[in-house]
């Protein structure tokens, strides 16, 4: 067994996803099966192999440091759950 119930609660917290007690065991069992598949990689000798992060070995492009974006906050905030005076509203975090 790779994944424990404690792992499930730890990573669910890191991922900011609420998982209740009843769900946790089912999630654990399925994650454990998935890690059974993933752990096949442990048997492979990869000493000295350069990791491949990307399909193309190209350098990230650079552009001139100047403003190119126009102000579209009204458009973008049109899909937000709660806004006021151009600000996104969230629950109070400072007393």
């Amino acid at each position: 067994m790779t994944i424990s119930l404690d792992d499930v609660h730890r990573i669910a917290h890191l991922a900011r996803i609420e998982i209740d007690g009843a769900e946790a065991e089912e999630v654990r069992a399925k994650l454990d099966a998935i890690f059974g598949l993933i752990n096949e990689l442990n048997a492979i000798d990869t000493a000295g192999v350069v990791p491949m992060a990307h399909a193309q070995d190209v350098a990230l492009p650079l552009r001139e440091d100047r403003v190119t974006e126009t102000d579209r906050h009204r458009l973008y905030q049109g899909v937000a759950p709660a806004v006021e005076d151009g600000l996104y509203l969230v629950p109070k975090v400072i007393e």
């Binding site: 669910a12 900011r16 609420e18 491949m52 990307h54 899909v79 709660a82 629950p91």
Partner: protein, 501 residues
């Protein structure tokens, strides 16, 4: 006429045998009749489609119409469409109206296509059966008890049922090719970087690539012409000279005149794709297809891909890792679902994400979070990137001996609803033949090559080296000139007295 290929409809429009308004009306009527059974569409925009069609006819009258002008298409609902709901198959984005167009959407709009609507998909493109969609499953038009494949199952079913002549999809681990195979149509995933990812809602950024569905390779080539091209808004979009992906399709003679149009072609067959594990009907159809390629002049060579069987475990580290990062943006603040009740900000995040995401998306976020968490990065993510290199090296060596690599697209034909939903690992193994092309970034496509004993379509996968889109499209085209599997359509096309409808 309605069931003609995109390329044939393009010719009919050019010769004024048909107007875009007539075609669009027929498409909308057919969708209204058949879609309630298939559930291929999440959103249909009839009013704008007819306005697009009128504009296309006006452009044609004014003498400024390209090959896609007036052609009705559908977009997978992972691609942003300005002013039109874009759900990604998720409750999280159930009411999200995209503020701008994806690059590929804009390209197809500029080419004059008529946008009919948005197609159903596995939630956030995570799935191989379309069963994870918040908007219900898509039914396979060949047998409505079976899945259409995924994640682009809505687009595949829509083209297979002849609801639209072409559609977009995205492919992160096989999400164009596997549904193309299960639905009996042609689907192309281009080289990573050919189509900008701007406005493609990200799943796994180093693997995601947009592509096309059609009845034929020619259809896909026409669509790709309008989708490809450099875009500075995506830092991984490649700056290359523009290509006409149809250019090879027009060259050389027809195979019916006795010529061997593929006489120069070396087809690589990896032993790893032909071992036990594939359905015997799939294996038999592949043998028949390879015999046809030999008849067309191609030579078969054996190649070895010793690490390719590790593609699935590598994929299920890298894709969830990137997904866990990408999907952190869905926090209930700037867009998407926000829980109705919560105690504080942290609780709002947790409840919004718990309610907004379905079970498979949560699983993948959790897997990704685990492999990237403190102390595990080297053991999982780095290790997977190293094996990814080994797989890419296998393909590089194989292409020293061959021009294209062929094999089955999927180990089986379409399975029944619920057959694998309890066992995610079994579902993941359905991606056994498709994930490698995402890990390497090379182009690959699936074309129809037969049917199993129960009448479900079988897909042949053609993989090529980087930037070999025109070549694999040509290889597929020559096969489609000599065979008629791609012209078969499900019985519901008869329009009356069909078995399943």
């Amino acid at each position: 006429m309605m069931t003609s290929s995109l390329a044939d409809l393009s010719r009919a429009l050019a010769e004024r045998r048909l107007s875009s308004v007539e075609l669009t009306q027929a498409v909308l009527e057919r969708i209204a009749r058949i879609n309630p059974t298939l559930n291929a569409f999440v959103t249909i925009d009839a009013e704008h489609a007819l306005a697009d069609a009128r504009a296309a006819d006006a452009r044609r009258a004014g003498g400024e119409a390209g090959p896609l002008n007036g052609i009705p298409i559908a977009h997978k609902d992972v691609l942003m469409t300005a002013g039109l709901r874009t759900t990604c198959g998720s409750r999280m984005l159930e009411n999200f109206v995209a503020p701008y167009d994806a690059h590929v959407v804009a390209g197809l709009k500029r080419a004059g296509t008529v946008l009919i609507g948005k197609t159903n998909m596995d939630e956030f493109a995570m799935g191989s059966s379309n069963e994870t969609s918040y908007f219900g499953t898509v039914k396979n038009p060949w047998n409505v008890a079976c899945v259409p494949g995924g994640s682009s199952g809505g687009s595949a079913a829509a083209v297979a049922a002849r609801l639209v002549p072409g559609a977009t999809g995205t492919d992160t681990g096989g999400s164009i090719r596997q549904p193309a195979a299960f639905s009996g149509i042609t689907g192309l995933k281009p080289t990573y970087g050919i189509c900008s990812r701007y406005g493609l809602i990200a799943f796994a950024s180093s693997l995601d690539q947009a592509g096309a569905f059609g009845q034929t390779a020619e259809d896909c080539a026409l669509l790709l012409n309008a989708m490809a091209g450099h875009d500075p808004r995506d830092s991984t979009s490649l700056d290359r000279p523009a290509e006409d992906y149809t250019r090879l399709l027009r060259a050389r003679g027809s195979p019916h005149d006795g010529a061997q149009p593929l006489a120069q072609l070396r087809i690589g067959l990896p032993n790893e794709y032909f071992g036990a594990g594939s359905d015997p009907d799939v294996a038999a159809a592949l043998d028949t297809a390879l015999a046809e390629f030999r008849r067309l002049g191609a030579k078969i060579v054996n190649v070895a891909l010793p690490n390719v069987n590790l593609s699935v475990p590598v994929y299920y580290v890298i894709a969830p890792a990137e997904a866990s990062s990408n999907l952190s943006r869905f926090d209930g603040v700037r867009y998407g679902h926000r829980a109705a009740k919560y105690d504080d900000l942290a609780d709002m995040y947790k409840k919004s994400r718990a309610e907004g995401f379905g079970a498979e998306v949560k699983r993948r976020i959790l897997v990704g979070t685990y492999v990237l968490s403190h102390g595990y990065y080297d053991a999982y993510y780095l290790k997977a990137q190293q094996v990814r290199r080994l797989i890419a090296d296998d393909f590089r060596r194989a292409y020293e001996k061959c021009d294209v690599i062929m094999g089955p697209t999927a180990p089986s034909t379409a399975f029944r609803f619920g057959a694998m939903t309890g066992d995610p690992v079994q579902m993941y193994l359905n991606d056994i033949f498709t994930t490698a092309a995402n890990l390497t970034g090379a182009p690959a496509m699936s074309i129809p090559c037969g049917f199993d004993r129960s009448g479900l379509p079988i897909g042949l996968q053609i993989q090529g080296d980087y930037f070999a889109e025109a070549q694999i499209l040509d290889v597929a085209h020559r096969y489609q000139q000599a065979t008629d599997w791609h012209q078969r359509s499900p019985a519901l096309n008869a329009g009356r007295g069909t078995r399943s409808l």
